[in-house]
């Protein structure tokens, strides 16, 4: 079993963004300054232990993810409309990767349905570990894990 730490979350986040949406990111330690709007998504999971994953992404990241996933340009209205759905799907894939890498594939795990919204502030709450990455344009993405005791 991997450790539930920033290294695991950074690896999962980077891999999923690259493989699902062709987005290349770099780990970052700098404090995050969010823009006026962010995509904030949550996903509950149940396995050996339950918990919650929170994904927060700058608005342009969500639009770029949608554009890459749909095969359109970032200024395409379809990409702008689908930013929230893209963030939900990315968190869904992150959730699957997390439960199988952290708890393993031998134990049953269950993901909830991802909930994502466009918000003026990131979702907050207790966290066991967190990872921050930045897109090639410098936009931040934050993945947080709240693992039940």
């Amino acid at each position: 079993m991997s450790e539930a730490n920033a290294e695991l979350l950074t690896d999962i986040l980077g891999t999923v963004l690259q493989e699902s949406a062709f987005m290349f990111v770099e780990p970052d330690q700098e404090p995050i300054e969010w823009g006026p709007q962010v995509f904030a998504a949550t996903l509950a999971f149940e396995s050996v232990r339950g918990g919650l994953l929170r994904l927060t992404a700058a608005l342009p990241v969500g639009v770029e993810l949608a554009a890459n996933m749909l095969g359109t340009d970032a200024d395409d209205p379809e990409a702008v409309e689908n930013g929230r759905a893209a963030i939900s799907e990315i968190l869904n894939v992150i959730g699957g990767a997390f439960v199988t890498r952290y708890f393993g594939t031998k134990v049953p795990s269950q993901l909830g349905l991802p909930q994502a919204l466009l918000s003026s502030h990131p979702a907050t709450g207790r966290r066991t570990a967190a990872a921050v990455v930045r897109s090639e344009t410098g936009e931040p993405v934050l993945l947080e894990l709240d693992l039940e005791a």
């Binding site: 493989e19 949608a66 939900s88 699957g96 990767a97 199988t100 594939t105 031998k106 049953p108 993901l111």
Partner: protein, 130 residues
């Protein structure tokens, strides 16, 4: 003959991604229908001839597991192969899905070539038949 497909996923982005992958995988594809959950999928199956279903598991209203169970219990629908296209999951869950009638499991994210190989295997045209 061109394959008629049904893509079942609650995420519109994922449905479009899967459609795109289907288009890129080099198979002769006819119409690609879409449904947002298992119940909607059963309605589409009642309306259209479909050769293969690509379904997510984690969906509201009716999830992919129940969709496979319902299709397996129907004499006609049980003939339509279902590929589960979903996030990584436990071995036990994959075995359960195959036990109740799903033909294959493809983990997200996937490459179009991987989808093509699975489709060809299911159709008996690949290197190793399923």
């Amino acid at each position: 003959m061109a394959l008629e497909m049904l893509v079942v996923d609650d995420s519109p982005v994922t449905r479009k991604m899967v459609r795109r992958a289907i288009g890129l995988c080099g198979l002769e594809i006819g119409q690609v229908h879409e449904a947002g959950d298992g119940a909607e999928a059963l309605s589409r199956l009642a309306e259209h001839r479909v050769d293969m279903v690509l379904a997510d598991i984690n969906m509201p209203v009716m999830n992919g597991m129940e969709l496979v169970e319902r299709m397996s219990a129907d004499a006609e629908l049980s003939k339509i192969p279902v590929i589960i296209v979903a996030t990584p999951m436990s071995e036990q869950r994959i075995e359960r899905l195959l036990d109740i009638g799903a033909r294959a499991y493809l983990a997200k994210p996937f490459r179009p070539e991987a989808l093509k190989d699975l489709v060809l295997e299911i159709l008996g045209k690949g290197e190793g038949h399923v």
